[in-house]
Symmetry: C2
Subunit: 180 residues, 2 copies
DNA sequence: CTTCATGCATGACGCCCGGCATCTATATGA
DNA sequence: TCATATAGATGCCGGGCGTCATGCATGAAG
């Protein structure tokens, strides 16, 4: 009920974005409501509209926040982290591209979320290209896009499958394919 | 309003399944209601429960129907069809794995839809393995799983992206990677 | 050919959950 | 003082699933 410090308010806002980023990745864009997010952030959903224009605006910020999570390290490390059972089992902390691709694809064309998703694809592909062995610019781009597809596909399938052994096989096969 | 012939009734049932298979792939498992499906089939949603136990039962049948759609031909043909802009732009007629992976992943463990999805992964992977050049059994399986991941990943990303050129690049890069 | 029970499809209804957005009150930081 | 961040309740509505009495043609039986 109280008013909190501006500092605290900023922290709260940031917290809402982080929580939203997790919940969206776990349950999908339409699987979470404003009330769920605010409750998970320890707040009530009344004050939401004082901080955000609407749910879509939050979705965009949450998507950006998820993308901003650290992607540092060597190519091998990146791949090892991406293609791991931990990543498969924790969508809420993982790659937003893999977690939300289907949902974003159903969003209307021109939607702000689609724009952010597109940016994310370019960003990750660019990161992969930078970390790759030297070859022609065109070839690097092509390789990185294919590798990104393999990474996302493997994680997406491994998550949907009801057999942990098969999930692991998918991950391992992708690893061998991308690394080799 | 009238009662129709038993033959017609069978056709209607079949039609409901087909329509459901399309709508689920287009809008997701939670993006379509029973009423939508029946309406799209030219029926009213009242008679649904005379033909199906509930929505989940229909979802399972619809998933199987989508998987049963023809996958014949050579490896190159299969890949060319899968990695095409046509496939990207028509999720309702395309691979249910690519269209519903995220949705299925959010379904509770042990769900019947998850079981069907898993079966679908095995089926497609097996088909790819059969069509592949000769190598050891283990290696064929590994290759086919990796190839499946690349196929699904490329289509899934291409659909979510808001730039047709980038979508095309993803498809092409995957094609070069899987074929080569 | 007539009869009639069967069963498919209709269309409305009930029920309830849950979504988004708004508004007042409150307490507190500025 | 007074602007403001949060609380908490409320409004409003859309839409989901499942059920039911009704109607009527079919298809089998006599």
């Amino acid at each position: 009920m109280p008013r909190v410090s501006q500092e605290q308010a900023k922290l709260n806002r940031q917290r809402v974005v982080e929580v939203a980023a997790t919940l969206f990745r776990e349950r999908g864009l339409h699987g979470v409501g404003v009330a769920d997010i605010m409750a998970a952030a320890g707040l009530t959903h009344g004050g939401f509209y004082g901080q955000f224009a609407n749910k879509d605006a939050l979705a965009v910020e949450a998507f950006d926040a998820a993308l901003a999570e650290d992607h540092r390290g060597s190519l091998d490390l990146l791949i090892a982290n991406y293609l791991s059972l931990g990543h498969v089992q924790s969508p809420g902390k993982g790659c937003p591209l893999a977690a939300l691709a289907n949902d974003v694809a159903r969003e209307p064309p021109g939607s702000s979320v689609r724009a952010r998703f597109t940016h994310g694809v370019r960003q990750l592909a660019g990161l992969l290209a930078e970390l790759m062995p030297k070859m022609s610019r065109e070839r690097r781009r092509q390789r990185s896009l294919a590798a990104l597809s393999t990474l996302v596909g493997a994680v997406v399938l491994a998550r949907a499958v009801d057999d942990e052994a098969l999930a692991n096989d998918l991950i391992e096969a992708a690893r061998a394919s991308v690394a080799g």
